[in-house]
Symmetry: D2
Subunit: 294 residues, 4 copies
Amino acid sequence: MSTTFHGIIGYTVTPFSTDGEQPNLAALGQSIDRLIDGGVQSIAPLGSTGEGAYLNDREWSQVAEFSLSHIARRVPTIVSVSDLTTTNAIRRARFAEEQGADAVMVLPAAYWKLSEAEILRHYQRIGDSIGIPIMLYNNPATSGTDMSVPLILRIVAAVENVTMVKESSGDIQRMHALHQLGEGQVPFYNGCNPLALEAFIAGASGWCTAAANLIPALNQQLYQAVKGNDLEQARALFYKQLPLLEFILKGGLPATIKAGLKLDGLDCGAPRAPVFPLDDAGIGRLGALLEQLR
Amino acid sequence: MSTTFHGIIGYTVTPFSTDGEQPNLAALGQSIDRLIDGGVQSIAPLGSTGEGAYLNDREWSQVAEFSLSHIARRVPTIVSVSDLTTTNAIRRARFAEEQGADAVMVLPAAYWKLSEAEILRHYQRIGDSIGIPIMLYNNPATSGTDMSVPLILRIVAAVENVTMVKESSGDIQRMHALHQLGEGQVPFYNGCNPLALEAFIAGASGWCTAAANLIPALNQQLYQAVKGNDLEQARALFYKQLPLLEFILKGGLPATIKAGLKLDGLDCGAPRAPVFPLDDAGIGRLGALLEQLR
Amino acid sequence: MSTTFHGIIGYTVTPFSTDGEQPNLAALGQSIDRLIDGGVQSIAPLGSTGEGAYLNDREWSQVAEFSLSHIARRVPTIVSVSDLTTTNAIRRARFAEEQGADAVMVLPAAYWKLSEAEILRHYQRIGDSIGIPIMLYNNPATSGTDMSVPLILRIVAAVENVTMVKESSGDIQRMHALHQLGEGQVPFYNGCNPLALEAFIAGASGWCTAAANLIPALNQQLYQAVKGNDLEQARALFYKQLPLLEFILKGGLPATIKAGLKLDGLDCGAPRAPVFPLDDAGIGRLGALLEQLR
Amino acid sequence: MSTTFHGIIGYTVTPFSTDGEQPNLAALGQSIDRLIDGGVQSIAPLGSTGEGAYLNDREWSQVAEFSLSHIARRVPTIVSVSDLTTTNAIRRARFAEEQGADAVMVLPAAYWKLSEAEILRHYQRIGDSIGIPIMLYNNPATSGTDMSVPLILRIVAAVENVTMVKESSGDIQRMHALHQLGEGQVPFYNGCNPLALEAFIAGASGWCTAAANLIPALNQQLYQAVKGNDLEQARALFYKQLPLLEFILKGGLPATIKAGLKLDGLDCGAPRAPVFPLDDAGIGRLGALLEQLR
């Protein structure tokens, strides 16, 4: 099952109405169509870029349902269902499965620091509640929890449907360890944009990226160059897109991707407060970066 | 207004039914009565100890309403209203004010890392929405955001009703800076239990603590010894209770305080998953620590 | 033996000739006399402030010999003998003992990160080579090695003449742990100037400080206020001198103390390159801070 | 000039007599011959692996002179001349130049934390004192000083003969920044063994490694595979040698490389105390790792 996901996994934004009160489903549909037209191998709704953490339960379900319905199995889907409580994460995972998701992604979101046993149980209970695969997601910067590679592999061994790992710590050596300790059997995915090249070099199956909203062709070409064993081409493609990758990471994905989509003619509104939209200087810089890549 | 709060500020737990599905308001009422009987100077519902982050909006309002109604102005109250979105934090702050809270506490909860300008705007908008004081709360371990003292003082200067600061970074030098840079005019409160003595020494107006659920007399005696300028007594009282303070911090406040209350005859249920209740070894250790203090 | 040391332990600078090539022993003698006139309970030559790490072996011995000879047992002495190799640290420790030092101080200086067993052996071999006490010194900022309290206490238990601990990590909770785990039997000393008050409150036997070169009376008064159980006085004295303590820590002790001594009429030359002397703006600020304290 | 250095830059150990008192020059000569026979593109004496920091000045000069004389320009040489004082680093740099070194390497060794201006001046003064190139070396783990890429490039711009950069922070993104901000004109070298593959992918000119004492053919093949644009081969070669690379990094280079050389029949003695030689379990593990690679 896990081999379903490879290559470029594009992340959706969650567009809002001008007053920020309502998800804008029409714009969401258009942004999804762009991702698919851009050639992504699969789509991940409601991730960090999708401001999943900033939606209330009703909104979250609405966006999940619409996204899956609009994608309509044109590409495989993986829905982020993370929540602070195990109960709500399970509820979301079941909902995603019912609506046709191919897999779910789970970050061990935490207010109180979780022990390894608590994290394992969290994944176990979600895994036991659904029949589709889980991509375990490690991102200490947003979750406050850094799962070591041995812990990750213990979870993979213990929970049957945790079959994929997304690593966003930014340390390429974690991927070496996943490759080595996982004996090449645990597919891992890169979630740190500025590591796009090295992660593929180290053996990552895919690249989870919001950049596919803006520069899908360059993302895809990098993936294909590595698959084609063309190192010089891969390096050139990587350094070409790196300034943009660094810009969107540093500026915050919801703010920068929404600004970039607007520059491309699709108004997705602002991120939800307290997150700011990109300011004018940032929009200018982003426009210049995109210009250079076209 | 800010001088309303001083001394021991006791934090409530949020008791749950056995299945964890519902807040147990009867037990909550009893735990509040214990805090007041124990002599706390004020009470803070729905903080970290109160698992405020693990409640849905309906539950949160229910617990806030009940807590304020049950306290019934026997002591001043300060309700934690933190939320990831500014909109929901405002909603909670207004609700708390309507229900009679004397003040609200705001942690800059974050999924996407916030800039200083975003944090300032967040406090500004909440402040503009209510007529009661705000205690700004810095706790990088749970919020993922560490506000520097200069930023804190900028917020205090800019937002009229941010009049108090709770510091939980664990670095006593932050309190020196609050005292110095705030020119002694910004009351600050300690939220790091193992710094209880030094924080009072450094000039903290109060000690925000869940320990008051278990050892209110010792907490109070420490405060009074410092107020009475009796350093030797303060030091002896501090080292006496320090092992318990360290135990509850290390074990997690919801788990350890609920276990301690149960040892004292008040069943408050377990923390919400994925957080574990205290295990048997921990309960044994906690019982022994409490025994030594009685 | 260990009770020899208490109160204010003053650190010497190592004055240099104008060209920086030679230690200036005449100035060193004057600076020592100032410390003693200022009332320090003991003196520590060749510590961090004394640029011990920047002297070659010949210079080091010269400065050690002169310092001990000039102090001439007017106060107890503790000589820092730290070196990267165990062999040279032993050589220095023996030399210090021969010249009449009452104790030596040892920081586990490291280029290659040391294991706990390597650190323990280092102290063991030095301890076995001399007949005077050792003050173990923990300062991760300068040594690159952070010794945990359990490791420190293992060394104290294993090496008979390691009888004192100097803690400069800046975390007051380390002192709590030394007090608790050491069962009040292991004298500890504070090496972090901005923690001067809290360290005494937590039970430190002494304060190791270069500030005694500039404001010995204020240092001494703080110590006496704590001993006299006068918390309000201690707090006032602490906040009075804190700006200076922070200034010398932030500006680097050799640079700021030498600049302060020159403002007081004693020219001790510059720190050795690559360390810069205090610049003109810094000298102006230091002068103003000292002015306020007189 | 800087293009002199590329590919595998092998680091020498400094063998000692059995009692640890004297450098063993005969063994040093043999270890140098092995490196050259193994095909390294150049040799770096007296680096971290060479325990340069643990030698006194006389020993340091003796080892430098012998190494350069024994290498006798068979390959280019780069001598590490780092020292805590600028004066002594200059003395060593001049000595190395006089003895025929092609370049020197400088780490900003520090006891007192250095400011950026102090670091820049240190490089400037060394650069002004010699006529050969300097490789600037960033290794926060051993030096305690982490130079940012902008600072590094400021030094490169300001000091004419700082023409190469060795990066050992372990963060591959530093190499991206060196490539981008240096506009491809500043040759950089990788000093973090487990990043060997990704560093070459990111554009590193060479790999500074002590592993060439043990597995020179595998090191060389990895370099050639990258040069030959054969990604699959490079990845396979990298993962093959990674366990050994991780082992020597974790175990400490002097201890593990000396143990490996002894397994190969060349007794280089132990590292200087307090550093331990590899223990029996480690020797067994190292032997097994080497066995698998032959």
